[in-house]
């Protein structure tokens, strides 16, 4: 069922341009039906999942490679599935209005629907390789969506950056998943969960974990890979709301949560996750307050949230996991809503800069209300869901076993910075003095309000009545902890340290909001340091790549044919020569069983070749080549190959005639190389010659398989009805080869005629026509 739904998502993506032709501007809303229905279906499954634990929906895909399209529906994937489909429906309706009349709307739908299907597949996949395939698909669709406005240089650059970082991490992830599959002996997540062996004890645990963490950290924009996420804001706002806050960037978090029961809890896991998460949390919050661009502000606050989630997984106590689930849900709801509000503001005022907005509340009261509600959740003010998330987060950090003091400072700082951000987003544009904006703002149309209002409303409803979530939270926490546990969220925890911290941070956050403009001015002094952040490292690496490929292209693809040949020959000498010397010492069987006339023939051949190489005139070279060719014909005849001898004689005769006829139209021999070059070429040529000589001697003394020609000899008369076995092979056993050969000859003949005849100036017809008919003759005999 769910597999079909995911596949249907891809089908819808492909069919959406067609749908656009029929439905026009309503396409988005029609497409939104798909995630909406899917969300309802997932909600209907929820009681079963909560009661029975995981549901496994099996579907073999490539059984021979143990790749399955089996899906696993447990609390964790159900939670993510609900977020993806629910927010997806809101975003689609919103996007239909936001991008109304955009000429590339069909292209947007393709990428967004494909993303939705991939993301669903990612969180539901049971097979490790299936998970990886969907993981990469989300990276690619994200790339297409960030670069949606591809005429914009910045958008293209940001899209490429996001792709490089996430796909680079994807490579590490592939290595990590492969290691996981090899170490555990199973390629399915639910089987790995039921294993008896402890993967943490395995010798390969550390490299495996590092690879997996690299994949997760790049995808979820953890420090120092966080820089791609703010740049990804070049995407249209619905994309930012959906991919880059609510869903895709949480894929890494999802993976970590998924692996927590099997791989979590070790010293390496706890230290890395808490430190990286803590630093990311603070970096995100600290960077956020420096920007006046509302999307950048929100992007950095998303980084803060992603860091918090990683931190909570690192702490890993049951309380921390409950906090993780609460925070995840709360963040997706309020951040999705806030991004859509940001899109409304941008759409209505024509600017993204919050400092030039102000006094908009009378003009757009509903938007202001939605923004306030969502921002209160972001700030963690009761009775919103964000408050529960923040309380639990403080509680978990206070209970952390490692780096406790450090983490408390970071968490507190991040919290009050976030409150300032929330205030900036919710108050600055709507209150205070009215500014002149590029566009005259109006209240947003209904389609753009439904989504954010729904999400903000849910933040409030679920905050007031968190008991609605008990089942989902329990089964999600069970999935992350790895054993069935009871968990619930509650709004009021009594007067305790977290509450005190909340109140103090609210006060500090409000103070920061009042003095935001001044603080921002001070922070500008840090700009030189900021410029040398991780992004500078990324730029340096990319520049080095470009320089390297320029250098090696100039070296290898330099347009000089003999350099290409030289490179190939040196490679041949290196590879074949080494393996020949290492694997087989050349066995030289000195059975010098040579008769005098044979030696004379071979000697003539060798002389012919040598003179051809050093001849000073064209005619001399042709004569030498002819002598060599006729000697070879003699060798064929002497050693039991009359057919070859006859063919060689004919072809050699034709070749000499051809050369002599064309020769006077060809350039004279000229000496173009220096003697140093000639010595170098001579050395290379001699080395290859010696190598070939040794190769023949070695190959001749090794017989690996029985020749297959025995069958051909036996059946030449009974099956082929021919007495000349070579001819039977050519026209019978290997008739297709001969057919191919005739095609080659025909093509060569057509080419020759075309080059000689098809021209503007008339020139005498040439020698070639006679050639190809003659060349085929040997077969008749």
């Amino acid at each position: 069922m769910i597999q079909l739904a995911v596949l249907l998502g891809f089908v819808l993506a492909a069919a959406s341009p067609l749908l656009h032709r029929w439905c026009g501007d309503r396409t988005s809303s029609v497409l939104a039906l798909f995630p909406a229905l899917l969300a309802v279906w997932l909600l209907l499954q929820a009681p079963t999942v909560v009661a029975d634990g995981a549901m496994l929906l099996e579907w073999a895909w490539v059984p021979s490679l143990s790749i399955s399209l089996s899906f696993l529906l447990d609390g964790l994937s159900l939670l993510f599935g609900l977020l993806i489909t629910g927010i997806g429906a809101c975003v689609l309706v919103y996007a239909g209005e936001y991008l109304k009349g955009h000429p590339d709307l069909p292209r947007f739908h393709i990428a967004l629907m494909a993303f939705m299907a991939s993301m669903l597949g990612l969180v539901m996949a049971d097979g490790l390789l299936t998970l990886f395939v969907f993981w990469e698909l989300t990276s690619i669709t994200s790339y297409l969506l960030i670069g949606f406005n591809h005429s914009d240089v910045e958008a293209r650059k940001s899209a490429r950056q996001g792709l490089f970082v996430t796909v680079g991490g994807g490579l590490a992830l592939m290595a990590g998943l492969t290691l996981l599959g090899v170490v555990s002996g199973s390629w399915s997540l639910h089987e790995i969960g039921e294993l008896d062996i402890d993967l943490r004890e395995h010798a390969l645990y550390t490299p495996m974990l590092i690879c997996l963490l690299l994949g997760a950290f790049t995808k979820s924009a953890q420090f120092p890979f966080h820089f791609w996420l703010p740049n990804a804001m070049a995407a249209p706002t619905p994309v930012s709301a959906y991919l880059h806050s609510a869903t895709m960037v949480k894929a890494g978090i999802y993976l970590l949560a998924r692996l927590q029961p099997e791989l979590g809890g070790t010293e390496l896991w706890v230290n890395t996750l808490t430190l990286v998460g803590g630093v990311t949390m603070f970096t995100g919050a600290f960077m956020a307050i420096q920007f006046t661009n509302i999307k950048k502000l929100l992007a950095y606050s998303t980084i803060m949230a992603l860091g918090t989630l990683t931190l909570l997984l690192g702490i890993g106590t049951q309380g921390a996991i409950v906090a993780f689930v609460g925070f995840l849900l709360a963040h997706s709801l309020y951040k999705g809503a806030l991004f859509m509000v940001a899109g409304i503001l941008d759409h209505e005022t024509g600017t993204k800069d919050v400092t030039v907005m102000g006094g908009l509340r009378p003009l757009m009261p509903i938007t202001a209300g939605v923004a306030l509600l969502a921002a209160l959740s972001l700030a963690g003010v009761p009775p919103l869901l964000g408050f529960i998330g923040k309380e639990l987060m403080f509680e978990s950090v206070l209970g952390a076993s490692r780096f406790r003091g450090f983490l408390i400072v970071l968490a507190f700082a991040a919290a009050f910075l976030m409150i300032a951000v929330a205030a900036v987003v919710a108050l600055r544009p709507f209150y205070g003095k009215r500014h002149q904006t590029p566009r005259v703002p109006h209240e947003a149309p209904l389609a753009m309000l439904i989504g954010p209002a729904l999400l903000a409303g849910l933040s409030l409803i679920l905050g007031v009545a968190p008991s609605l979530l008990t089942g989902l939270v329990s089964s999600t926490v069970s999935a992350v902890v790895g054993e069935p546990v009871e968990a619930y969220l509650s709004l009021w925890h009594g007067v305790n340290l977290p509450l005190v911290m909340s109140v103090v941070s609210l006060g500090l956050g409000y103070w920061l909001f009042r003095h935001w403009d001044r603080v921002r001015g001070k922070l500008l002094l840090l700009a030189p340091i900021m410029r040398n952040g991780p992004e500078a490292g990324y730029e340096a690496i990319m520049a080095a790549f470009v320089r390297f490929s320029e250098w090696q292209t100039r070296l290898l693809q330099n347009g000089y044919m003999r350099n290409y040949i030289l490179v190939m020959l040196l490679t041949l000498i290196g590879l074949v020569g080494t393996s020949l010397l290492v694997r087989h010492s050349p066995i030289i069987a000195f059975e010098f069983d040579v008769r005098f006339h044979e030696a004379v023939v071979v000697g003539t051949m060798a002389m012919g070749a040598l003179f051809a190489a050093i001849a000073r005139s064209r005619l001399g070279a042709v004569v030498s080549v002819g002598a060599m060719g006729f000697s070879i014909a003699m060798i064929f005849i002497l050693f039991s190959a009359p057919d070859l001898g006859i063919t060689q004689l004919l072809v050699e005769t034709l070749t000499v005639i051809l050369l002599v006829l064309v020769l006077f139209r060809l350039p004279r021999f000229s000496n173009l190389s220096t003697s140093l070059e000639r010595i170098r070429d001579g050395l290379v040529a001699a080395t290859v010659g010696i190598l070939i000589c040794l190769l023949i001697l070695t190959a001749w003394s090794i017989q690996q398989f029985e020749p297959i020609s025995g069958y051909m000899v036996e059946n030449s008369v009974p099956l082929g009805h021919g007495l000349n076995i070579v001819n039977v092979i050519l026209v019978d056993y290997r008739a297709l080869d001969t057919l191919g050969e005739m095609f080659v000859l025909a093509l060569a003949a057509i080419g020759v005629i075309a080059m000689l005849k098809l021209r503007h100036d008339a020139s005498p017809p040439s020698v070639t026509e006679g050639k190809k008919t003659a060349a085929k003759e040997p077969y008749d005999g």
């Binding site: 044919m561 003999r562 050693f639 190959a641 350039p667 290859v688 076995i725 080419g751 040997p778």
Partner: protein, 115 residues
Amino acid sequence: MEPLMAIGIGLLYATAIFLMLRRSIVKLVIGLMLLSNAANLLIFTTAGMTRGAPPLIPKGMTAPIGEVADPLPQAVVLTAIVIAFGVLAFAVVLIRRAYEIVKADDLDKMKDTDT
């Protein structure tokens, strides 16, 4: 016989490669001819060389008398000889044509697609 042939073929390869590394375009073609002959002989020799026992079946019989030379490499080489000739004819005419247009026999001067 094979050791002698091995030396001869090695020499053929060496001369062919030396000629193919020249800048003069005619030498390149002659190198190409030597190379195809060398490759044919290589296949022929590595299959083992047999004196005076061609793979023919006397009239009225269904199998050759005694041991005969392996017919398969011969068939393969036969195909190769003819194809090499086709390639050579094409290459020679191509060079003639290129020389007519470019008026250069130096490969280094034939780097551009523009004339």
